[in-house]
């Protein structure tokens, strides 16, 4: 099953590689990983999207907690949560498809942030599934380039991950 795990860790050189190394050394899946400092610059917040059986996910949580630099771990998928991913996608604009593409971006809540005669670059935020859907809708043969940040997640309401 797909899980989205959030963690707070020391914002120190090498901390990221401890997490990445843990996943590769123990053979855990890693779908995406996004990381950046928090409002407290000594802490980084990481969101990891992974998948595995309940037993594997339990081990992933325990092994992450075992890393000395990791301060807190929360499996967001265990409760109400929100997840968002940012995507920039560059598409080829065929004659007559201009309006259709603009409309598709509007409907998905995206913005066209760069245009040339034959190319649009669209910025879109949403859940991973929403981004996947958007790409399907516009047609993969038009896509020149995509870049995605991987999911960032946060708990709903009172579910707060903070030291």
């Amino acid at each position: 099953m797909r899980h989205i795990i959030s963690l707070l860790m020391e914002n120190e050189a090498g901390a990221l590689s401890r997490v990445a190394g843990l996943f590769s050394a123990r053979g855990y899946n890693i779908e995406s990983l996004s990381v950046a400092p928090t409002e407290d610059p000594t802490l980084s917040r990481m969101t990891i999207v992974t998948s595995g059986s309940d037993a594997v996910i339990e081990q992933i949580n325990k092994q992450l907690n075992k890393l000395i630099d990791v301060a807190m771990v929360m499996d967001l998928s265990e409760g109400e949560h929100l997840e968002r991913e940012l995507m920039l996608v560059k598409v080829r604009v065929e004659d007559g498809a201009r309006e259709k593409l603009k409309h598709a971006a509007d409907v998905a809540g995206g913005r066209i942030i760069d245009t040339t005669e034959h190319i649009y670059t669209i910025e879109l935020t949403g859940s991973c599934a929403e981004l996947d859907n958007f790409l399907e809708n516009i047609g993969r043969n038009l896509i020149l380039e995509t870049v995605r940040t991987g999911a960032s997640g946060i708990g709903c309401g009172e579910r707060i991950l903070k030291l």
Binding site: G14, S17, A25, E58, N65, I68, A71
Partner: protein, 569 residues
């Protein structure tokens, strides 16, 4: 007054009451060695290879309650140390390894003797640090010792660039340390402990299974009380030997791949299993699916939550330090009205004793013609009164020692259980002898393992370490040969040890005493003579039966009750 980084490092070691550092000098640690030279509180033991420095620090820590310390230079110094670090990590030895690094300005430039020490060691340390500022040396060393010895212990590496060791700052050693992202477990959950007691008292076939955690945490006294109160059989893992006295009638021997028949059968057939400081690894319970075929309730006490429910499902997990958890378990047991059901226990012991009547499945037929390796270990036990520190290498001799040297005390059995590192024995024995001067220290080894760190005979001479080396020389890499015999059609691919040195002459060349023993009748006299030489290292080259195999054996991937006993073959 300002001190250099190197001087600060040595002052930190003094503050941590470090008496011995095992190491090897080099370019990146020149300032540190200079600071060592200009003081006399911390003594340096010069090994002959960095791997040995780490194994020696490891043996030092395992046979005492101290943190072992090793010091190596950058590049090859560090890479040579990696096997030792990984060995310590697998067996949770508290250790601090200090490595030199190229100057900060040269890092990343492929400088001479540069290697990414923090990167290379990351998967085999509890934690590691690269110190980039001289001001960070003291707090980092404080953290390193705290991390190494607290919680589930382990090796911690501190990498210090050469320029940092020569920069100056004022020295203050932090009085205390807190790491906001690190909170090792303390007491166990009281409700879970009461639940466990209830389950144990209602059990018809209870079993206690303990590992290296009991030895590391010094919880033997509590374990003995607990096993007595429960009246249950107790088994130890390879790492746990000595945690419960082997001579006790409730002890059913070691379990696992080369464990006794009764330990493995009781493990398989119990209805409530109490696991303490052990981790259900593949050499211990064999095939997980086979193990799960017979339903049993499992109570698992461990300081490391990630050891719980890793390979088997656990009904009552208890995370905590073993001593306080066992103390609380004992007080609940003593305070309650329930006691184990005597009828059930009598029936259970009748069964266990029937299994036991097989002789544990580890009979061997002694000979008057050729030396049986098991006989050497039995005689070693007798000659040393069962009270020696025994360091071992890895292979058949390791298993025979685990089986036949009946350890009654913790911290006496020093072996590489997790990583299985050949070459561990002799340097580990050096560490044991350094921290236990005057104690009887034996190193049981084979002609294969001993050659992996044979150069340490020189260190033993320099530091007058009177270790007794018991080499079971069968001319083969015996454990591999055994697997080739059983599972690879007797094709002994590269396991015959050709062109062996004359170990007697070799020992003499290093300034020690060498003995060669060919006949069974000479085994006891040789051991007696060797151990009577209190001040000498004696290398005993026992020529043993090359066809002897370790029994019983649970073949890899099989279940515990699929055990092969000696007499079946």
């Amino acid at each position: 007054m300002e001190l250099t980084g190197a001087e600060i490092l040595i002052r930190c070691l003094q503050e941590e009451q470090v008496e011995h550092v095992f190491g090897y000098p080099g370019g990146a640690v020149l300032f540190i060695y200079d600071a060592l030279f200009r003081q006399d509180k911390v003594k340096h033991v010069l090994v002959r290879h960095e791997q040995a420095a780490v194994h020696a620090a490891d043996g030092y820590a395992r046979s005492s309650d101290k943190v072992g310390v090793a010091l190596v230079t950058s590049g090859p110094g560090l890479t040579n140390a990696v096997t030792g670090i990984a060995t310590a990590y697998m067996d949770s030895t508290p250790m601090v390894i200090i490595s030199g690094q190229v100057p900060t300005g040269a890092i990343g430039e492929d400088a001479f003797q540069e290697v990414d020490a923090v990167g290379i060691t990351r998967p085999c340390v509890k934690h590691n640090f690269l110190v980039k500022n001289v001001k960070d040396i003291a707090p980092t060393i404080k953290k390193a010792f705290y991390l190494a010895r607290s919680g589930r212990p382990g090796p911690v590496l501190v990498d210090i660039p050469k320029d940092v060791s020569n920069h100056k700052t004022t020295f203050t050693y932090p009085a205390s340390v807190t790491i906001r992202s690190y909170h090792p477990a303390g007491n166990g959950d009281s409700a879970q402990i009461r639940h466990a007691v209830q389950m144990l008292l209602e059990a018809k076939r209870p079993m206690v299974y303990t590992g290296g955690g009991v030895v590391l945490s010094g919880a033997s006294a509590q374990l003995i009380d607990l096993v007595r109160l429960l009246g249950a059989p107790c088994t130890n893992t390879l790492m746990g030997l000595g945690g419960f006295p082997a001579s006790d009638k409730q002890f059913v021997g070691m379990l696992g791949m080369h464990g006794t028949y009764e330990a493995n059968m009781a493990m398989q057939h119990c209805d409530v299993l109490l696991a303490i400081g052990a981790r259900f690894d593949d050499r211990v319970i064999g095939n997980v699916e086979h193990f799960a075929q017979i339903p049993r309730k499992i109570i698992h006490i461990d300081i490391d939550p990630s050891s719980i429910a890793k390979r088997v499902k656990v009904d009552v997990p208890i995370v905590g330090e073993l001593k306080p958890v066992l103390d609380e378990l004992l007080s609940v047991l003593r305070g309650g009205k329930l006691t184990p059901n005597t009828t059930d226990m009598a029936a259970w012991w009748k069964q266990v004793n029937e299994w036991r009547a097989t002789g544990g499945g580890m009979r061997y037929k002694n000979s008057s013609e050729i030396i049986k390796p098991q006989f050497v270990i039995e005689t070693l036990h007798q000659v040393t009164g069962g009270d020696a520190f025994v360091a071992s290498d890895v292979g058949q001799h390791q298993m025979w020692t685990a089986q036949y040297y009946k350890f009654d005390k913790p911290r006496r059995w020093i072996n590489s259980g997790g990583l299985g590192t050949m070459g561990f024995g002799l340097p580990a024995a050096m560490g044991v002898q350094m921290v236990n001067p005057g104690a009887t220290v034996a190193c049981v080894t084979g002609e294969g393992s001993i050659q992996m760190n044979i150069q340490e005979l020189s260190t033993c001479k320099q530091f007058r370490l009177p270790i007794k080396i018991v080499a079971l020389n069968n001319g083969y890499l015996g454990m591999v040969r055994q697997w080739q015999e059983f599972f690879h059609g007797n094709r002994y691919s590269e396991t015959y040890m050709n062109a062996l040195p004359d170990f007697v002459k070799l020992a003499e060349a290093y300034g020690h005493v060498g003995m060669r023993i060919d006949k069974p009748a000479d085994v006891e006299p040789a051991l007696k003579e060797a151990f009577a030489r209190k001040n000498d290292l004696v290398f005993m080259d026992f020529r043993t039966d090359p066809t002897e195999n370790v029994f019983p054996m649970v073949p890899g991937g099989r279940g515990l009750s699929e055990i092969i006993l000696a007499e079946e073959l």
